[in-house]
Amino acid sequence: MSLSTPTANAVTTEGNGELLKVRNLRKYFPIRGGIFSRVVANVKAVEDVSFEIGRGEVVGLVGESGSGKTTAGRAILRLIEPTSGEILFEGTDIAKLPKSQLREYRKEMQIIFQDPFASLNPRMTVGDIIGEALQIHNLARGKAREERVADLLEKTGLAAGHMRRYPHEFSGGQRQRIGIARALAVDPQFIVADEPVSALDVSIQAQVVNLLQDLKEELGLTLLFIAHDLGVVEYISNRVIVMYLGKIMEVAPAKELYANPVHPYTEALLSAVPIPDPTLDRERIILEGDIPSPINPPSGCVFRTRCPIAIEDCRHIDPPLEEVGPGHLKACIRRP
């Protein structure tokens, strides 16, 4: 939990200054029990996470299921209330804003969800779904709204004629495009893409990732791209953050991370990325067991119970995030 100095100086590759700075973010979900509904334990979904994202940058956030990446993404947008920590968006701490002022910032920060079937209201037309934000923020009405919706549909690779249809008439990939169009409706600066392609067929995944990439270039978006698969992230990200059990294990520029992973957890994740060449032989690092319970995480380094190189010290020392190269940070006492 000693995480003060190093990340503050992390290099942002785009160099246009910081857009978002997250400081010591925590999210605990209380478990209540007994007759008086007292808090008997906490699920520590996000435990003291700090990072920053530069303007125009795409940051990948990876980790296996239960690592807290989705919770972190939602807490940053205050879709769930963070337990503690600061979320500085252009210098304003969103974590402390009252609801009324937060609504203004909703225009700047949007989210794309994982499940394209759960994320669209089945009782609304596509036009209403995408146009809703325009209505809420009074950005456009009547004819202008319709034009804007048509424009957004075309921008995301759909047709203007789709606006009168209902979500159930679309395929998963198309629905995800609708979700993207909805997020873009308010002209946000920052988008959290929460595993936007995990629920899609592989053939469609590339299309949606390409679309995000194009939109990012065209609109100058800043993205936090959450995924459990390093392969997808490699393609789109400038920098990658690796999380495990609510904590950051390693942060590095994308190329550097793939070429030169330092943390044993990153190595294991990378060895699981499929390579489209069956003749290529390589060593797979198989992690034993499951991710431990975030209610009662291991002492010291949270990864030590599954780490192939753990030693006795790992049980006692909570590894700080330390710089190993320019913009490259790791939390491991076993690697120099």
């Binding site: 989210i111 994982q114 994320s119 209201n121 609304m124 004629g161 008439e169 198309q174 909805r182």
Partner: protein, 296 residues
């Protein structure tokens, strides 16, 4: 970069169908429901149409020389123990019974949806208070409260309607609350919050519309229930004040002559049965038609 299009059925294809259109198309395939819609429509038209041309006094006019006459050309449904025409009384009674059934169901739906949505969405202590209140009402026999309330507030049509409506919203409330609990965690509700929607908007535009299917079904069944409750009340002599005819009060009056003059009980009785059956079949049909996951 060129974004490849997925194969779509898009661009002004022929199946541009609205949701109500889809529901109607599905309902049409439910034979029993369709027949029920037709029968109920006929009943409603007769019950509310005939009174436009005939005065209610005709239904209440007694003729002591024509007591308990069996069905004939002059009196197709026969006459009751004080010589009133049963056909006319059945029609006027139907108007009252159907009105009470429909309005009470509508009222119970409004109360049930509001309380259920509020309890489910807000949660916490409010949820606890509202749901314990609901449980309490559910645990008292409805007919018992109705009898007490009917005594206290009198027996006009409006009051009987309100009392029935106010005592039958609990099942709707529980259905709505359970649905809202799961819907509010769905990602489209979260997306609406991310866009800056207020709670009132999330509830009214995103959550409540998605509870419509079970609510409509419950409310439809509620119409049948309300008609039966009204009939029971009238049968016990606690319903709408005589001489206003309702199907229940006609049954009540027929008690003495079930063997000697069965037609007095038969016509209102069979109409209660037919109406409630129709309503239940329609409810069944709607349940299937409104299921968003059913194929076509």
């Amino acid at each position: 970069m060129e974004i490849p299009h997925e194969p779509t059925t898009s661009q002004g294809g022929p199946r541009l169908e609205s949701l109500p259109g889809l529901i109607w198309r599905r309902l049409r395939r439910h034979r029993l429901a369709l027949v029920s819609v037709f029968i109920l429509a006929v009943l409603i038209i007769i019950s509310f149409g005939v009174p436009l041309f005939v005065s209610e006094d005709d239904a209440n006019r007694l003729n002591l020389r024509a007591k308990l006459e069996p069905p004939s050309l002059a009196h197709p449904f026969g006459t009751d123990d004080i010589g009133r025409d049963i056909l006319l009384r059945t029609i006027f009674g139907g108007r009252v019974s159907l009105r009470i059934g429909l309005l009470a169901a509508l009222l119970s739906m409004a109360i049930g949806v509001s309380i259920g949505a509020l309890a489910g969405y807000r949660g916490g202590w409010l949820d606890n208070v509202l749901m314990r209140f609901t449980d309490a009402l559910l645990s008292i026999p409805t007919l018992f409260i109705l009898i007490v309330l009917a005594q206290v507030f009198g027996r006009s049509i409006t009051i009987v309607t309100i009392v029935i409506g106010a005592l039958s919203w609990m099942p709707v409330c529980r259905i709505v609350r359970a649905n809202v609990l799961s819907l509010k965690e769905r990602e489209f509700a979260m997306a609406a919050r991310a866009l800056g929607s207020r709670d009132s908007r999330i509830l009214s535009r995103h959550i409540v519309p998605n509870t419509i299917a079970p609510v409509v079904v419950a409310a439809t069944l509620g119409v049948g229930r309300a008609i039966i409750i009204e009939a029971s009340l009238s049968f016990l002599g606690l319903g709408v004040q005589p001489p206003i005819a309702t199907w229940g009060s006609m049954l009540n009056r027929a008690q003495g002559f079930l063997v000697t003059a069965p037609w007095v009980a038969f016509f209102p009785g069979i109409l209660i049965l037919v109406t409630v059956l129709c309503v239940n079949f329609i409810g069944d049909g709607l349940r299937d038609a409104l299921d968003p996951y059913a194929q076509n």
